[in-house]
């Protein structure tokens, strides 16, 4: 493809980047500004036009701090488990195996079902009386009494995270697998000739080669897990109590159940700011190189 006009190569970046920027600004600009501006509007009609009262209420809200903490735990454990399992599976599936395409397909399956459906199905599978999970565990003797996965205060959040692990690891696995496939074979062959063990190759070739992809997967997954909504909403709606309430479900509740548009916007602003702060190192890192 060639363009008639001679554009300096230096300026070509615009051609590549600007379409995306334009799209984002046009489509999300108005919604973003509207919803953010709601956060400084007062809840009570008739008070001042702009106020920080919503943020003040956030600080006073006993549920908000619990929700925040839950979100942190949820995201941390989900992302960590995704990376660990995703990496393990990617490494295994990168090897020469019989029926490898089939295994790759199976590993992808949990990702294929929509969040909401996964939530509904797992909620049922977790049911103490007629859930499939307890049924199987009882039959093979793993447990002797039905476990209350979603009702036991000690288990509730972890039960949700477990489902999220099942549902989310294929995403990380796919990215890491693509990254693994980009590591040239001859590096391993050279190492083998030099007498390196598999473990040594893993730590000295694989991991460094994957470093960038791991960081990409990490950053994307963190943002993605903070936004995770349908899964949790369908399974527990944030209950019991506020044990599984996360920022996304809390915002939804405030907006669509309590009709507190202004307060919900304030929560969203906080969410966005926190996420930005968390990803600042990442932004710094990826714009640093070369």
């Amino acid at each position: 493809m060639d363009f008639g006009i001679r554009i300096k190569d230096r300026h070509m970046w615009a051609l590549f980047v600007l379409p995306g920027v334009l799209l984002l600004v046009l489509v999300l600009g108005f919604p973003a500004i509207t919803s953010l501006s709601y956060s400084i509007k007062p809840e009570k009609a008739g008070a001042a036009s702009y106020t920080l009262s919503n943020y003040a209420n956030l600080l006073k809200d006993p549920f908000f701090s619990k929700t925040f903490w839950n979100t942190a735990v949820f995201v941390f454990l989900s992302v960590a488990s995704h990376i660990i399992l995703g990496l393990a599976v990617a490494v295994v599936l990168n090897r020469a195996l019989p029926a490898r395409p089939l295994f790759r397909l199976i590993a992808l399956l949990p990702w294929v079902v929509p969040d909401v459906v996964v939530g509904i199905i797992w909620k049922w599978m977790y049911d103490p009386i007629y859930g499939a999970l307890n049924d199987v565990l009882l039959k093979i003797g793993f447990i002797s009494t039905p476990v209350e996965w979603l009702s036991n205060p000690k288990l509730a959040l972890f039960s949700v995270i477990l489902v999220n692990l099942w549902r989310g690891f294929p995403f990380v696995m796919l990215i890491l697998l693509a990254g693994l496939q980009a590591i040239p074979r001859h590096l391993y062959e050279a190492a083998a000739i030099d007498g390196a063990t598999k473990i040594q190759s893993f730590f000295h070739i694989t991991i460094p080669g994957l470093k960038k992809m791991i960081v990409v997967a990490l950053a994307l997954d963190i943002v993605w897990e903070v936004r995770r909504f349908g899964l949790i909403q369908a399974m527990t709606k944030g209950g019991p109590g506020v044990l599984t309430e996360v920022l996304s479900t809390y915002t939804y509740k405030q907006y669509f159940q309590f009709f507190r548009f202004e307060y919900a916007s304030a929560i969203a602003v906080v969410m966005t700011v926190v996420l930005l702060l968390v990803s600042l190192p990442y932004i710094w890192m990826i714009s640093q190189e070369e």
């Binding site: 209420n57 049911d127 509740k253 009709f259």
Partner: protein, 429 residues
């Protein structure tokens, strides 16, 4: 690689062609109802619409189903953009929020045109709930009470007389204990006395009402400005409910995840002997498990009481969008769906009683029906929750405390006290 770019562009072009939507010719009304997604209701509604179309051939009604859990989300977004359906169906307990945001049209002009006495056909309480600033902004629909449903065969098997359902909550507890047993001799309890909700859903407060009100307590003070949950009677009612699960264990495990459908399934599958339900219960239970022969085996009785008879009311309502382009036609549709003839049809087809006195109080179909007669008899004892816009938030925080008590995180006393504090904070805003 160019191929992918070209495919992409072609896709966009093809899609653009699909977006062309032909304009409507005659008056078209958009009607939305979650019942359209239920088999139980769908047929009946479609028949009703066919009758309407025969009478008003120039009005076309497009039906927009919406799933039960998503309806508030959808109507909120649509209303905020001025694009809500012309007529839509909501719970009466959502009304304060819709009214507060101006999402419901004032129906007074239409009612006045119908002549004096038009509203006399309805029970007073439903009408009161339709009012915003003294004016009617919605029309009442289904009106039912929560009553006790029980399985007569399980009663007999436990040595209880199926014709003597429990009348007081204390009696109820005794019955429930007897009905919680191991039926197959394997040493594990597999049948419980009472099934109830514990999940955060609108159905929860419907089933808690008979507890708190018949104990003589209430959620808020009469002026609805403060929480009344610090009264001794409120504490009693709360503790009684929580202890059914934690102490007496007459409720199946996993309570906080139980929604209305789970409870009905428990009844259908003979896992519980008693539940609180309403007109929709027998047909649904029957659909879940035809082998149970729900209509024969189940019986209805007034909800048990402590100090006075009181039960919760279920009320649905029809709202007209303030942005409707055809208010007069929309009114005809609303009038039709709430007319005596059609309200009776809703009962006959779906077993829901009506907010019209000239149907629920009088129709032989209702008075002779084993279940509906009990429902109707309880209407005078029906109470409704405070109709304020903070109510969903208050109920959510109350349920949070209840769940914390039920799973043993806090004692009922402490949990209720915290709910009391938080509710006061909400009301003070």
């Amino acid at each position: 690689m160019k191929k992918i770019g070209i495919i992409g562009i072609c896709t966009v072009v093809v899609l653009a062609l699909f977006c062309f939507q032909p304009a409507a010719a005659e008056v078209t009304l958009r009607f939305s109802d979650w019942h359209l997604t239920e088999d139980v209701w769908n047929k009946s509604l479609n028949e009703g619409m066919a009758i309407f179309h025969k009478r008003y051939p120039n009005i076309k009604v497009t039906l927009e189903p919406v799933s039960y859990g998503e309806k508030e989300t959808k109507y909120t977004v649509e209303s905020a953009a001025g694009r809500a359906p012309d007529v839509f169906h909501v719970h009466a307990f959502s009304l304060p929020m819709f009214f507060g945001k101006g999402f419901a049209k004032d129906l007074t002009p239409f009612i006045e045109k119908e002549g004096p006495g038009f509203l006399d056909a309805w029970y007073p309480l439903p009408l009161k709930l339709m009012k915003h600033n003294g004016k009617i902004h919605a029309m009442p629909g289904d009106y039912m009470t929560m009553v006790l449903f029980y399985n007569t065969e399980m009663f007999k098997a436990a040595g209880l007389d199926p014709n003597k359902p429990p009348k007081t909550w204390d009696e109820f507890l005794t019955y429930a204990k007897k009905l919680t047993r191991d039926t197959n001799g394997d040493g594990k309890v597999d049948q419980w006395g009472f099934g109830t909700l514990g999940a955060k859903s609108p159905g929860f407060s419907l089933r808690f009402g008979p507890f708190i009100w018949s104990f003589g307590a209430d959620y808020l003070t009469p002026d609805m400005k403060r929480s009344a949950l610090d009264s001794a009677k409120a504490k009693e009612a709360f503790a009684f409910f929580v202890e059914l699960y934690t102490k007496h264990k007459v409720v199946p495990p996993g309570l906080t995840a139980m929604g209305a459908q789970d409870v009905r399934t428990q009844l259908a599958q003979k896992k519980v002997a008693m539940i609180l339900g309403s007109g929709w219960t027998p047909p649904i239970v029957n659909k879940i498990n035809p082998d149970l022969k729900a209509f024969e085996v189940l019986k209805a009785a007034p909800a048990p009481m402590k100090r006075k008879q009181a039960t919760a009311i279920w009320l649905s309502s029809w709202v007209m969008s303030p942005n409707t382009k055809h208010p007069n036609e929309a009114w005809e549709l609303m009038k039709f769906i709430t007319s005596k003839e059609i309200e009776l049809k809703w009962f006959v087809d779906n077993r829901v009683t009506s907010s019209r006195k000239d149907v629920s109080g009088v129709a032989p179909e209702i008075l002779n029906d084993k279940f509906a007669s009990v429902l109707a008899s309880q209407l005078p004892y029906g109470k409704v929750e405070p109709q304020i816009k903070q109510w969903p938030e208050i109920m959510d925080t109350f349920t949070t405390s209840l769940q914390e008590a039920v799973v043993g995180m806090k004692t009922p006393e402490k949990a209720l006290a915290e709910a009391h504090e938080r509710i006061n904070a909400i009301l003070a805003r």
